[in-house]
Homo-oligomer: 392 residues x 2
């Protein structure tokens, strides 16, 4: 079914969705998120089996983050795949706001981005929005944000993106490149549109109001690098969609393709409710956590299990409500293992302690390897940083 998202003005309001039971903006997710509702409200499209099949033609496999429904929504992913089929490659673009250390929730869209890069040999622009985090934070100085920017870049490099195909843009360092695009974009975005989409208040600072045009700029940078209109696909959590939506509204007027997106769900916190967030550090496993901290955080995690071993054996648990199960199934278990784990849980044949122990072991293993790569990354930073003629 054609949802007709191209036929309506794309930049309808995102900001006042609280009456619908949830609110999703680039800075805050509140309420109980209904992803089907988001797709309807945002005017995006669900990823259909047909699209997964199209993608599989090129990748050979169905990526677990697709089969598990973590990446669930898109705009123009089908167009990007069709164009690729016709010999037209595309750029990937994603990013990170460096307001703290990177946690496992941040890594998930990066895994998928790496999968796309490996599949299509696509060039990737990775934007570090240090300016955004400075403008939006009450307490962070520019120096502190810069410190996090370099810290986070180590994580990006540790992900294993192809150094020949990947360039990291740090907004404050690459503003000379971004600024002409910023001006062209900002000139086309009225305050009333930006306010409707981002919900600015009288107390919002004027830097916040201009910022969306900085985040939109890398959508069009590939066309300048390649000296021809170039498609861009953005893998990111759906809370970033407002940025791309206003960008899509002006792209064609500027002579560019509308940027395509593939949207992920949010990554759950290890604690009851909410998404994994730096603002709730006990519910998040950071790439900088030592093994003891990992063990302690998982040990204290909320689960879908019963209050006692007896009840668990009798009634079984609920893996669908369990962040421990979620991490195991999205990060570590393969499809078959995951199905068996859920079955054993539901029938009372698996205790929460066992799942926590599995997750702890796997996470410590993963993080031990990731830390090694992160240390190596310190020598690779320069080769990843964006500079003029970035891929020459």
């Amino acid at each position: 079914m054609d949802l007709g998202d191209e036929k309506i003005e794309e930049s309808a309001g995102y900001a006042s969705k609280l009456e619908r039971g949830y609110s999703v903006t680039p800075w805050q997710v509140t309420g109980v998120v209904d992803y089907n509702k988001i797709v309807k409200d945002f005017g995006t499209r669900l990823i259909t089996p047909e699209i997964i099949e199209k993608l599989q033609k090129f990748s050979g496999i169905i990526h677990p983050l697709l089969s598990r429904g973590f990446f669930f929504s898109h705009r123009d992913l089908d167009l990007v795949l069709d164009a690729y089929g016709n010999g037209e490659n595309f750029y990937l673009y994603t990013g990170r706001g460096p307001s703290g250390h990177v946690h496992m929730g941040h890594l998930m869209p990066w895994f998928f981005t790496k999968f796309l890069q490996d599949t299509f040999g696509s060039r990737l622009l990775f934007q570090i929005t240090d300016d955004e985090k400075f403008l939006y934070s009450q307490h962070l100085s520019l120096q502190e944000v810069e410190k996090y920017a370099y810290d986070n870049i180590l994580d990006v490099i540790a992900m294993g993106f192809d150094p020949k195909l990947t360039r990291i843009i740090i907004d404050t360092k690459n503003i000379q490149t971004l600024y002409p695009l910023y001006l062209e974009i900002a000139k086309r975005l009225t305050f009333s549109t930006a306010k409707a989409v981002f919900g600015y208040k009288p107390s919002s600072n004027i830097g916040m109001i201009g910022f969306p045009a900085i985040q939109a700029a890398p959508c069009f940078l590939p066309s300048l690098i390649e000296k021809k209109p170039t498609r861009v696909l953005i893998p990111a959590a759906i809370d970033q969609d407002p940025y791309w939506r206003i960008t899509r509204d002006i792209a064609e007027k500027m002579g560019y393709y509308k940027p395509a997106q593939v949207h992920s769900k949010f990554v759950p916190s290890l604690e009851l409710n909410g998404k994994m967030s730096s603002s709730r550090p006990t519910g998040a496993i950071f790439t900088t956590d030592d093994p003891e901290t990992i063990e302690s955080k998982i040990s204290g995690a909320y689960t879908g299990g019963q209050p006692s071993v007896g009840l668990q054996r009798m009634l079984g648990g609920d893996p669908d409500a369990c962040p421990v199960f979620w991490y195991l199934s999205h990060f570590f278990d393969d499809g078959k293992d995951s199905f068996e784990r859920s079955l054993k849980c539901r029938t009372g044949n698996l205790l929460c302690g066992e799942c926590k122990s599995d997750l702890t072991t796997q996470t410590k293993l993963f993080m031990s390897e990731f830390t090694r790569r992160r240390d190596q990354a310190k020598n690779q930073v320069d080769s990843f940083l964006y500079e003029e003629n970035p891929f020459d």
Copy 2:
């Protein structure tokens, strides 16, 4: 008398002054301007004989643009002069929005700026706000604005500013330097303040809203260059005051001096009413006009004279309402000549044709020399452009 401008919150509204009979914003001056009213409404101070005397101590002379009341208002000029007396030099900062060619109205604050530089040996930052002109113009492309930027730089250099003491900042070229300051400033300016001061509308683009923080940035750049809080004095027409006023509100919180200003009046058009403006080219003499064009524009100028020679001989003219007299008195005549000219005009002993002929001759002479210097300037551009460690 202490007008108490430091005691009130400085950023009261500028935008809705039309009910007072005039409106002065950085983009438009409408209505009949009453300069005493502006001083009261903006909360600036009139330049007093005491201040002129203080300045004369250092310069030896009273500059004609002061004695004729063209520079009439200030903020903290006295503080800057006192500090200089105590061995503390200051930076000068002024600028130009490159939306067209430079005309004689633009040159006047530059003359005064050069006088201040010559007197105090001050370093001068000259900002070319090409980003502003792009964001505010319906029809100008970035390329066109850039063309005007380089064209206007030739005029700046032709003014004779000291190449050792003068650096030209082009916003789009020097954004790497300006951006960290932009962020620090923008974070401290709320939308409600900016809206009250600049009168933004829902249709304003989001680049316009952020721009004041770009124009404010060079107020603090000298402190970064000198690695200590450094005073800045801004000679500019009073319509630019809103920018400095919001900057003054946040300067001390950021650890800098409040930027000081010396404000000029507007330069009249050669036509009836209004200020000399690029949007009314027949009323403005551009530095790129050829001698025939100059002659034709002055010949068609409005004057304070009578409709016929007979009436002029009988009733005399009104030099106070005459743009031809204004240009002669502000640009070319010395005080005594000017007084005699006004007397002869008022008593019917001087015809408009004679004044027009004098102005034409003088303007052609001036422009001939200016054009020569402007041509030479083409070889000096690089040495004037701002770069890292600009005065090393």
